[in-house]
């Protein structure tokens, strides 16, 4: 069993990687939902009821190949507020489970790329994260395909081990919300879309997604407008729809959004007003000199720096990929530190100080817009 300290020491590796497709596609994860027959759903059950569900599920889950060795396992009351906060920032727990207590369990795989949540909004919710993001050409979702296959293998193993409500043979599972019954699987793509967001085009994208039956929402779910240009595209389960049917269509839509973002970036790069050069330069200046920074300001600024890096407006001595990875690591470290600081007023000072130090220690050159670009 993994100890809590070990779990929290390092963020999941996939959160630190530079995104695929010019740093637009930050990750893919899959949410699997199942309920046990004969037990009330977690929203309508007592502590005893939840405990009974946990007793029926946890031992079997710990036998799955993903969780068999070196996994972390805890019942929610054992985790304090700061720990839950950190797990949320590491994307290793869902907001619903983070707010729950007795009879609710969390199991996290050693590699931190699989999480089983017992008595979340449903009896069992499993998140699987894609680790490693090699460049993929249009239509070439081979590696994503392997990932989805491993998810399906795991789900079939579970279907054999537990008596789930619904009809596993027909790929139809019952959930507490009737409209969400179906194959019990949702695919999420986490996207970094600074150019679309800066150009106020997210409204358009959202409308297009509605027509395509793909959902979109800001990545950070705390209800603020703190998006840091990160969005999630995701599918909704529907009766009779199988993972294989959705995946191709879904990644096609993701691909289209990515193309749109890349197109707008190119436009920004060649636009005579030089707004993007101005924005990246000012953002760097702010990080270099700020004395107080909020988490939102820091996240937004880091997003713009990533954009400037990919567009080669700033060139870092360590290389673009390495820079983005260090920046991701810093962002996670500082967000966790600020969120768990005892003295809240000290956080903005701390964030600014750490950012100034990081910028100072990271050699770079700025590139000017090329004359030939202005035709």
């Amino acid at each position: 069993m993994m100890k809590l300290e070990t779990l929290l020491k390092e963020p999941p590796a996939h959160l630190l990687e530079a995104g695929d497709r010019q740093d637009t596609l930050l990750g893919v994860f899959v949410r699997t939902v199942r309920n046990l027959k004969g037990h009330p759903f977690p929203g309508w059950s007592t502590s005893e009821g939840r405990r009974a569900v946990a007793e029926a599920l946890v031992p079997g889950l710990l036998q799955l190949p993903e969780f068999k060795r070196g996994a972390f396992h805890a019942e929610m009351p054992a985790l304090d507020f700061d720990t839950r906060q950190q797990l949320l920032l590491y994307n290793l727990i869902s907001p619903s489970l983070a707010a729950r207590q007795d009879g609710c369990h969390i199991i996290i795989s050693q590699k931190k790329n699989a999480v089983a949540m017992v008595n979340e909004e449903e009896h069992l919710v499993i998140h699987r994260f894609r680790q490693g993001y090699p460049p993929c050409k249009r239509g070439d979702n081979l590696r994503v395909g392997h990932f989805l296959e491993s998810v399906e293998t795991m789900n079939r193993t579970m279907d054999a081990a537990f008596d789930f409500a619904g009809d596993a043979a027909k790929d139809h599972y019952l959930t507490s919300i009737p409209s969400e019954c179906g194959c019990g699987i949702q695919i999420y793509a986490l996207l970094h879309l600074p150019a679309l967001n800066l150009s106020h085009m997210m409204g358009q994208v959202t409308k297009a997604m509605e027509k395509l039956h793909v959902s979109i929402s800001p990545y950070y779910s705390d209800g603020s407008d703190d998006t840091a240009n990160r969005f999630m595209l995701y599918t909704f389960p529907a009766p009779g729809v199988h993972l294989k049917d959705i995946q191709e269509y879904f990644f096609e839509v993701v691909e289209r959004v990515v193309e749109r973002e890349v197109g707008v970036r190119n436009h920004l790069l060649h636009e005579p007003g030089q707004r993007i050069f101005d924005r990246v330069g000012r953002t760097y200046g702010m990080l270099k000199q700020a004395r107080r920074l909020s988490i939102k300001e820091m996240r937004d600024a880091f997003s713009i720096l990533r954009l400037g890096t990919v567009l080669d407006i700033i060139e870092w001595a360590c290389g673009a990929r390495k820079f983005i990875e260090s920046l991701s690591a810093l962002e996670l470290e500082l967000t966790v530190q600020a969120a768990t600081m005892e003295d809240e007023d000290a956080a903005p000072l701390m964030l600014a100080e750490r950012c100034r130090a990081f910028m100072k220690a990271t050699p770079h050159v700025f590139h000017s817009p090329k004359d030939s670009d202005f035709d």
């Binding site: 309920n35 046990l36 027959k37 004969g38 037990h39 009330p40 759903f41 977690p42 929203g43 309508w44 059950s45 007592t46 005893e48 009821g49 507020f81 839950r84 906060q85 949320l88 907001p95 619903s96 983070a98 707010a99 729950r100 207590q101 007795d102 909004e121 409500a165 619904g166 019952l174 507490s176 919300i177 009737p178 409209s179 779910s221 705390d222 209800g223 603020s224």
Partner: protein, 162 residues
């Protein structure tokens, strides 16, 4: 049921009837403390939604002709979740609700005819049924609901026998 809510440092007290207390995911006092800390805005939004639903539910109640039949609720025998609960929360209580509350799930919400049919199919609840539900309510520590059931049982027992 009184619920003390701390949103953005302000303490607000809300009075809620037992029906609302059933939206347990939100009103589970244990989870509430954490929900407040994590998602003050989200919690506020959910609160607003529930209050809105309650206001609408009241209007709905008044519009329904068979006022005396209204308390006769189709309930899932396994988990005692009622159609009323489903209308308020858009959720179900347990997988068996799909079998026992099927008519409502397949019908569009607010279909007056369907409400009447459902009611006619349901016999008036006996003291025995109420007592069983009271037992359940006590077991899940839903004392608000238990109090109402206790009063209903009392009223039934005092009523002149037909």
């Amino acid at each position: 049921m009184f619920l003390t809510q701390i949103v953005n440092g302000k303490v607000t007290e809300m009075a809620l009837c037992e029906e609302c207390a059933k939206a347990r995911g939100l009103f589970d006092p244990q989870s509430l403390t954490f929900a407040e800390k994590f998602f003050p805005q989200e919690l506020q939004r959910q609160m607003d939604k529930i209050v809105r639903q309650l206001v609408q539910g009241d209007k709905e109640e008044k519009r329904r002709p068979a006022a005396e039949g209204c308390d006769v609720i189709t309930a899932c025998p396994v988990c005692h979740f009622t159609l009323e609960d489903y209308r308020r929360t858009n959720r179900l209580g347990c997988p068996d609700c799909y079998t026992f509350l099927a008519s409502e799930l397949n019908a569009p919400y607010g279909d007056a005819e369907d409400v009447e049919t459902t009611q006619q199919e349901q016999p008036l609840r006996s003291t025995k049924d109420l007592e069983a539900e009271l037992q359940q309510a006590v077991e899940r520590e839903d004392y608000e609901r238990a109090a109402v059931l206790r009063d209903e049982i009392k009223a039934l027992n005092n009523a002149p026998k037909a």
